[in-house]
């Protein structure tokens, strides 16, 4: 480049940096605003009820207290519920992701009779509201003697059309050259799936795993219907029976709710970097 061109490029870069800085600031500010309601909820649970309903905005508790959490932690079976949630959510996630990857790959890349019909059935299952099917699921699980078991809680959750749909779309967008090159090299379908398609989509797999796990952890209506004893309840069902006072209990209600969500949030925050990296793993088109 000539000297004037280089000067122009430098000016551009500086201007870009200012815009870049502005964009970064806007993003960070947006993030802070987005996270504020959660911060506010947590702060509320650390205040005594009387302080909660006072006038004025108090962004940090004047009288710090953990009372609102004690009752739930020590008077209920919440430890057991956490474990149940972990088992059922983990099982659902593992099975769904494996099945969906396989099915998504098959629909995306393989030719077999009934392929279109299968795809339409999956789309259709996404369009039917779960409330319409839930009673039939209950009857089915009852016939299999799976009521009030963790397996019964897991069963109907294995219908996860979204996961298949997303896998199929992402597998579709893998460029054909990769496939052709590998086939020429003598790869069979399993090689293709495990050496190319999946590795190129670890980000999606991680994302889907997280989403599935969270969905399973937070599910209420089905576990509520399927479970009759406290020992088999998951967290979202268990906390609805927390004995406490009526009356003014903003802080206590929020504390109970936050306790239910906390483990997943903590795990996410701890593994935040790994998760971000996994998602950010560049699929990279070389060359």
């Amino acid at each position: 480049m000539s000297a004037p061109e280089m000067a122009a490029a430098h000016r551009n870069i500086r201007r870009l940096d200012r815009i870049g800085l502005a964009l970064t600031l806007a993003t960070v500010l947006g993030a802070i605003l987005w996270a504020f309601p959660l911060y506010w909820a947590v702060v509320t649970t650390l205040k005594p009820e009387a302080e909660v309903v006072q006038a004025g905005v108090v962004l940090w508790p004047r009288h710090f207290t953990l009372d609102n959490y004690f009752h739930v932690l020590f008077d209920t079976k919440i430890g057991l519920w956490y474990i149940n949630s972990l088992i059922t959510s983990g099982a659902v996630t593992l099975i769904v992701v494996v099945m969906a990857a396989g099915a998504g790959y098959a629909i995306s890349q393989l030719a077999f009779p009934g392929r279109q019909a299968l795809w339409w059935m999956i789309l259709a299952s996404f369009m039917v509201p779960i409330q319409a099917l839930i009673v039939n699921h209950f009857i089915l699980m009852s016939q299999f003697h799976l009521i009030n078991t963790l397996a019964g809680v897991v069963g109907p959750q294995l219908i996860a059309p979204v996961t298949v749909i997303i896998y199929k779309q992402f597998f579709d967008s893998v460029p054909k050259d990769f496939r052709e090159a590998a086939v020429i090299d003598g790869a069979n379908n399993f090689h293709l799936l495990f050496r190319i398609y999946l590795p190129m989509n670890w980000g999606v797999t991680t994302a889907l795993g997280i989403i599935t796990f969270i969905g399973a952890w937070n599910l209420f209506l089905w576990p509520f219907l399927a479970v009759t004893s406290q020992e088999e309840m998951n967290v979202s069902v268990g906390i609805t029976q927390v004995f406490d006072a009526f009356g003014v209990k903003y802080a206590r209600d929020l504390a109970t709710a936050i306790l239910a969500a906390m483990p997943v949030a903590i795990v996410y925050l701890i593994f935040q970097r790994r998760v971000t990296q996994a998602i950010m793993l560049s699929a990279g088109i070389k060359g």
């Binding site: 039917v128 925050l269 699929a283």
Partner: protein, 293 residues
């Protein structure tokens, strides 16, 4: 070549058979039952008598059901496109950052997604509480110093619930968009930057077209998800003018669980399914036409 075709089918079978088994038992069978049920007057659980299309006729005359459909469409308009576009914007923002700043920003936008709907409900009804909610400090100046009960004021209800829903579910869209953005090679951007293309041009010419498949995917998923909206609307309307803001799945829930009208609820579910299918196909065709240009 016949051999490889047969192998292909065999492999496909292996990959989809557990899937098919579970779907057969837990989706096909219950859905068939549901369709059957919609022609009967069955209660929530148990058999009923055949009544032909009486349930569907009843639905067509039910003012509440019709308004539920309109409310659902209104909610979709308020939430689907904004949440998709916002998801893309946030994903772009996060993608540019590095290090702990990136982690913080991603966590802030994603953490709401981790929460169950009951927590989201409690957090936001507390934020907006008419007497003690902190958001009232922002609202009151625009309303002669008076607090407003957001969720108990009918015209404000849907926008408020849409707002909360976007806050809650944005993380899902952001994740998908980030995964999609990472599939675009950085070299294309570098080349464009060297050619002097501005940020906006880069977005319009590179990002937007290349991310289009993911955008379509997100739009479609959000469309179908929000047409099935229930939990937030139910929770925020509970105890108030629930009929005015009722959505279709809420109607189904009410008929099935509150009044034990299993047949009628099944019929409503079937109608909803047709509506969702119609909308999805319509959107898909529209978007495909756009994407081709």
């Amino acid at each position: 070549m016949l051999k490889s075709k047969r192998t292909e089918i065999a492999v496909a079978l292996v990959l989809i058979s557990p899937f098919l088994l579970i779907y057969g038992v837990l989706f096909i069978y219950p859905t068939v039952k549901m369709v059957q049920l919609s022609f009967t007057n069955a209660p929530l659980i148990g058999a009923g008598e055949w009544v032909g299309i009486k349930n569907f006729q009843r639905l067509s005359f039910d003012r509440l059901f019709i308004s539920a459909i309109w409310n659902t469409v209104y909610f979709v308009v308020l939430s689907v496109i904004p949440s998709t576009l916002l998801g893309l914007v946030v994903a772009l923002g996060v993608n540019r950052l590095k290090g702990w700043v990136q982690s913080f920003v991603l966590a802030a936008f994603f953490l709401p997604y981790i929460l169950p709907v009951s927590v989201v409900f409690r957090v936001w009804s507390w934020m907006f509480d008419k007497d003690f909610g902190i958001a009232q400090n922002l609202i009151a100046p625009f309303n002669d110093g008076q607090h407003i009960s957001i969720f108990r004021t009918v015209p404000l209800f849907m926008p408020a619930v849409a707002f909360v829903t976007i806050w809650w579910l944005l993380g899902f869209n952001v994740l998908l968009f980030i995964a999609g953005l990472r599939n675009i090679s950085t070299e294309i951007y570098e080349a464009a930057a060297l050619d002097g293309a501005s940020r906006w041009t880069q977005f319009r010419r590179i990002t937007w077209p290349l991310i289009w498949p993911v955008t379509v995917l997100v739009l479609t998923i959000q469309l179908i998800l929000q047409l099935k909206i229930f939990d937030q609307v139910y929770l925020f309307a509970n105890g108030g003018r629930a009929d005015a803001t009722m959505v279709v799945v809420q109607y189904i829930y009410k008929q099935a669980f509150q009044q034990s009208h299993g047949g009628l609820a099944a019929a409503a579910s079937l109608v909803l399914f047709v509506v969702i299918a119609a909308f999805s196909i319509l959107q898909f065709q529209l978007l495909r036409a756009r994407g081709a240009t």
